[in-house]
Point group: C2
Chain length 345, copies 2
Amino acid sequence: MDNSKKTVTTMEDVAQAAGVSRMTVSRALRKDSSVSDKTRKRVLAVVEKMNYVPDQMAGSLSTKRSGFVATLVPSINNVHYGRMVQSLTETLEETGLQILLGHTDYSRHREESLIESLLKRRPEAIALPFDGHTERTINLLQNANIPVVQLWETPPNPIGYTVGFSNEQTSYNMTSELIALGYRNIAFLCETNDEWTRGAARRTGFRKAMTDAGLPSHRMIRFGNPPMSIKDGYFVGKNLKQYYDDVDCIFCVSDAPAFGVLTALKEQGVKVPEQIGIAGYGDFEVSRYSTPAITTVSFNPEDVGRISAELIIKLIDPENTDTRLQKKHVIEVKNLMRESTKQRH
Amino acid sequence: MDNSKKTVTTMEDVAQAAGVSRMTVSRALRKDSSVSDKTRKRVLAVVEKMNYVPDQMAGSLSTKRSGFVATLVPSINNVHYGRMVQSLTETLEETGLQILLGHTDYSRHREESLIESLLKRRPEAIALPFDGHTERTINLLQNANIPVVQLWETPPNPIGYTVGFSNEQTSYNMTSELIALGYRNIAFLCETNDEWTRGAARRTGFRKAMTDAGLPSHRMIRFGNPPMSIKDGYFVGKNLKQYYDDVDCIFCVSDAPAFGVLTALKEQGVKVPEQIGIAGYGDFEVSRYSTPAITTVSFNPEDVGRISAELIIKLIDPENTDTRLQKKHVIEVKNLMRESTKQRH
DNA sequence: TTGTAGGCGTTATCAC
DNA sequence: GTGATAACGCCTACAA
């Protein structure tokens, strides 16, 4: 190895060492192209020996295909988004596509500047959560001339494609089921400043279901910033009396605070579900193994990732541009009624 | 907007529209360079109006600086790595560096091919967990001519820099503390096929501590593949008797299975910590709020991310290459003794 | 099957 | 302060 200096081996170096032109090396590296088996073998041997790694940036500049898919998540530090990104990545990489990941921290402003910096890498598509977008964000997205896939929701006026479900409707459904169990004084627990998150839609779904059932929907507990943690739920559970002293059920915007509430109530000797029922959102693994197991709204983040990836692959396939693809993809969601809620008499 | 076709606005387009040369546009876009305030203002106005987004790939080709830092994690779908990546990202982006993320799924083979494909993007540095690497991986890493930072462990013969702690020593320490509490028949719960993960080091630490205390270390329960889940722990807890029927304490390779074991034992009416003590690893949030709270080995994944990022920033700073940087960075780790273990009489 | 010329969009460098 | 020119490393297109 004489590349001990900062110089990286280039295709030209390989070409010279193999006694061919750069183009032959380039072709030898791609399976489809026409090179004689003999030269290919020889070139690849040299490539191996010299530890040559092609510069994909230079290649992309030529082909106009970056091989990137930009992906935004509110927070990487969250099992749900982690699972989604994992399945998205796995499906995409079958086609050689790489993910360019960014986290918005639930901030519209961060989202905007993030998109701007990701766009500089010329991604071939972008997948991002549907929360509120700034006007400039929408403008950037539309001007990028790439497929846009909005996740986790089925918005009324999407920019491009959507993969998700109605957070309002599913929240409505769970609330209705809680009412059917006999709960009346249901409280909804969510974050403050959730206006630009899907938590707001869940809040609305709760409200509507209560109203439609002729029940009051004022028991709204708002605490902390998105995303709500176990700790936040624990705090609220500890101080529940100071919010409302007649609550018979708490529906939480996610399973994390639901688990926290449960722990806090148990510590105070409150019986769950006998005295107070608890329900969450998202079917986190912990909910299945907590004591009691927590009732939750269940869906597979993997579905969101995989379906988005499959969609994107079709969308950016040069051969496939003419076929008309379905714009709206709905993910299956169901209520998992577990031990933390039960039929009242 | 007349860029309705697949053509993306280029610097040349902006230059023409502003009546200057490409170079002037290029300069106007960077704060440091010498352009008259008047021209800069004019150019930036055109940039804004045309929704121009510079192509960073082309720029990188020129500057030989990709702005990428390659980062590997065993699994994105894991709070620990999520938190690490989050803090790494946050610190790096202050310098305009972007992360190129890959997950190895705890597979040395996947790691190898992942590194190969990431290297094509010419990252300026690479941060990856220290588990076992293949020979080819090490070869690739050394030939890439970029700083290598190995995470989560303080290996005996690192490739480059390290940010982490001794998994063996910290496991030894927790085991010793459990022994000091009076536990004697301690079992260690970990995955099968953990040879190439840091779980193996924790296993070794457990063994040594037991041996050093004159206690038997044969109570080794191995189940499932990395990473161990709550569910795995639950299964083991349900069938504990079939593994060993005289266990008085279970030390788990991570908090997830510890929580699962706890749930299973509670369901069987086993008192924790009175009959069996439980300890975990990693200080997951759930451990603090479970009932009882779980004793655990605690460290901040954020430390790993932030310290690595700061190190990398220095390492790739062109002005900074001459200063000699510390090779080994150790993260603080401590035992958090909580309710799931207690002093025996 | 292989090679040559030119260009992808940007920046470094050196003139003016 | 601004512009022309020549890279950067690869691939497309065409020629041999």
